[in-house]
Amino acid sequence: MSSIKIELRQEDVNKIKEICTSFNNDPQELINVLHKCQEHFGYLPAEVQEVISNELVVPVAKIYGVVTFYSFFTMTPKGKHPVSICMGTACYVRGAEKVLDEFKKELGLQVGQTTNDGKFSLSSLRCVGACGLAPVVMVGDKTYGRVAPDDVRNILKEYEEGK
């Protein structure tokens, strides 16, 4: 017996409806709808999934199942500056894990988490196609090459207030 109330802004509801309509409200297009919604909102909170459920007439449990199955989808908001560490083979063998550990320590986060102030989020990815620069770190759209654990603090400093 559902007793949860879903609160969203009208423009957000409209946006989700618009995305669903662009896929003809076809339940088969669920994954594409989720992609578009995540592109727009940055993540897929429960509220967004509820609205999609209504529009596509797919049980919200099923949608949650899909969201939690594919690692690309996330229910936690990305930070203002999303930090991604490449864990592809080339980066890995050149010490990406140590770099990742340093970011975890500096930010106090695990992979998939966001800082309380919403500034940074941490994720790992697989190969950005710049293996010559391994290990590679991305912050937003900016790429950093040959990153050593000692560089981590300086990279984060670039994004501090006022810079």
Binding site: I4, I6, L8, R9, V51, A61, T68
Partner: protein, 592 residues
């Protein structure tokens, strides 16, 4: 039909194209063990996610072992079902499953009736290698008014998901997460209470382990029985008597009405009554409502909505409150028999025996888990005192009888107590799909036409097809009747009502496939529809042998109206025997 030939364990077999290895083997009398697999024959539904891998077999010229539940036969295939390689694989698979399963069989509700336990035993597992170092996945325990979820015991067979989504179209459960944290859960892993769950209990009925079980209310009943200040009365639903015997080794379809009454008396209940009495009362109220709406409708009254929908099934009520709240003025406002019984017991009967309603405990024995939730609905209590205090299932009653060392097989046949124990055949058939509407027709016909029915049996309303329809001639007025059992089938009829396409005057809906005889609280039938058919036959047999078979002829019902209620749908009847429904659909609220 196109067929093909293959060899299984050196024996040739010919099967239709599309047959799985598992079924082809069965044709040869070869049993391949299965765990996650389940077949619901009459519903034509198969659960074969090939998830557990217990049913693997060796197929010649294939590198890997093949899951026989999901692998289709091919021409010339050579299959071996029990080679040493296969036996080793099955053992390893089982060890893996058990390494992530609690070992609390001693106190598990499913112990002795658990498919996993039985398979571990069949495969002779005595040790689980590496379990000292292996981590176990753990989940929070979720207790709702009717169902307990303990996902630590889930083996991901996904049978519950099949029932919830494919059969019932409730969509409360889905496989979520991946890897070690994979499980079956409601959206956002919230508790069932906050999901679209209707408490029909069909997930519990198919769960192979103790992951999904009913809330056990027998301790509450035991406490009430032991309290000398309480008068404890019991009502038994019609479907219980047609299935209880199975849990005492009797053949499916054995009626144990009299023995059950004796057992309940031996357990210490002060009065043993029958929900069938309240079923007769339901017919008086619901039948009158049907005729009233029908007459007004025929006169052109636009406020008289048709079809009228039955409202005895609490899983079904939950379903339309959740999915069709826009139609909540369509179902009959009559309470279910369980609740009508409670309302009459705590007023009329309590006064009669001069007991305060707070000292009168009403227990119901139901084939159903949703009844546990129903009796906890706020609108069914007075100042916090429930009309029906506790509801226990057929399975719980059987366990209770065994605990008390009562040998059901060798009991004398007892009789229900008066006045709330007297019923007609019409009340009995409430237990099977089509029964409520047949009972309603028996009374509505005679009241409407003023004539005696030429025959009481309406075979056109009986059967196990998911959606049925029939037209009954009310002395020149054709009445169109629809019947659905299983919520997926109900949804089809409801969609027609919503779009205005429905041609029916009255529709009966039961949430569980087969009606109450296939309820979520009944002895497990493991998908075997022969058991359901046998229970239905028992219900109709009990109806046939009753001297009175029409609700309005029940002398105690007549007396109840004379002494207490006035006439059907009177103000008092409305106050005590009718209810209203709520919109439970999740609301999307727009922030300003």
């Amino acid at each position: 039909m196109e067929t093909l030939k293959l060899t299984i364990d050196n024996k040739q077999v010919e099967v239709p194209k599309g047959t799985t290895i598992n079924k082809a083997a069965k044709q040869l009398g070869i049993e391949i063990p299965t765990l996650c697999y389940m077949e619901l024959h009459d519903l034509n539904i198969e659960n074969n996610p090939a998830g557990c891998r217990i049913c693997v077999v060796e197929v010649e010229k294939r590198r890997n072992l093949a899951p026989s539940c999901a692998t289709r036969c091919e021409e010339g295939m050579v299959v071996k079902t029990h080679t040493t390689r296969v036996l080793n694989a099955r053992r390893t698979v089982m060890e893996f499953i058990l390494s992530d399963h609690p070992k609390d069989c001693l106190i598990c509700a499913k112990s002795g009736n658990c498919d996993l336990q039985a398979m571990a035993h069949q495969l002779g597992i005595r040790e689980i290698p590496g379990q000292e170092i292996a981590a176990m996945s753990t989940y929070k325990k979720d207790t709702s008014p009717s169902i307990i979820r303990n996902q630590d015991k889930c083996i991901l067979c996904r049978r519950c998901e099949m029932m919830c989504n494919t059969v019932q179209t409730v969509g409360a459960l889905s496989a979520v997460n991946r890897g070690f944290m994979a499980t079956v859960a409601p959206a956002f892993e919230q508790n069932l209470e906050y999901s679209t769950c209707t408490y029909c209990g069909q997930c519990v009925a198919v769960c192979p382990t103790g992951a999904l079980t009913e809330v056990d209310n027998t301790p509450d009943v035991l406490r009430a029985l032991a309290d000398p200040t309480k008068t404890v009365i019991v009502q038994t639903a019609p479907a219980v008597r047609a299935a209880l015997g199975e849990l005492f080794g009797m053949e499916p379809g054995t009626l144990v009405t009299g023995k059950m009454v004796t057992a309940l008396r031996a357990l210490g209940f002060d009065y043993v009554f029958d929900t069938d009495f309240a079923a007769d009362l339901t017919i008086m109220e619901e039948g009158t409502e049907l005729l009233d709406r029908l007459t007004r409708h025929l006169k052109g009254d636009k406020t008289a909505r048709l079809p009228i929908l039955t409202s005895c099934c609490p899983g079904w009520v939950n379903f339309f409150e959740e999915y069709f709240p826009d139609l909540k003025d369509v179902p009959s406002t009559s309470k279910s028999p369980q609740q009508m019984f409670g309302a009459i017991a705590k007023t009329y009967f309590a006064d009669k025996i001069k007991v305060n309603r707070k000292d009168l405990v009403v227990v119901s024995i139901m084939p159903c888990l949703a009844k546990k939730y129903e009796c906890q609905r706020e609108e069914f209590s007075l100042d916090g005192n429930r009309d029906v205090d506790f509801s226990i299932s057929t399975r719980e009653l059987a366990a209770f009888i065994k605990q008390a060392n009562i040998d059901l097989n060798n009991l004398e046949e007892g009789e229900f107590d008066a006045p709330l124990g007297e019923s007609t055949g019409a009340g009995v058939i409430f237990g099977t799909t089509g029964g409520v509407i047949e009972a309603a027709v028996r009374t509505a016909y005679e009241v409407h036409t003023g004539k005696k029915l030429p025959k009481v049996d309406f075979n056109e309303l009986r059967g196990l097809e998911g959606v049925r329809s029939a037209t009954i001639d009310f002395d020149g007025l054709p009445i169109n009747i629809g019947i659905a059992h299983g919520l997926g089938n109900a949804r089809k009829l409801l969609n027609d009502v919503r779009s205005g396409k429905s041609k029916f005057h009255a529709i009966e809906v039961m949430a569980c496939p087969g009606g109450c005889i296939g309820g979520g609280g009944q002895p497990l039938h493991h998908g075997n529809s022969e058991i359901i058919k046998a229970r239905a036959a028992a219900i109709y047999a009990e109806d046939k042998k009753k001297p009175l078979r029409k609700s309005h002829e029940n002398p105690f019902i007549i007396k109840l109206y004379e002494e207490f209620l006035g006439k059907p749908n009177s103000e008092k009847a409305h106050h005590l025997l009718h209810t209203k429904y709520f919109d439970k659909k999740k609301k999307i609220i727009v922030k300003q």
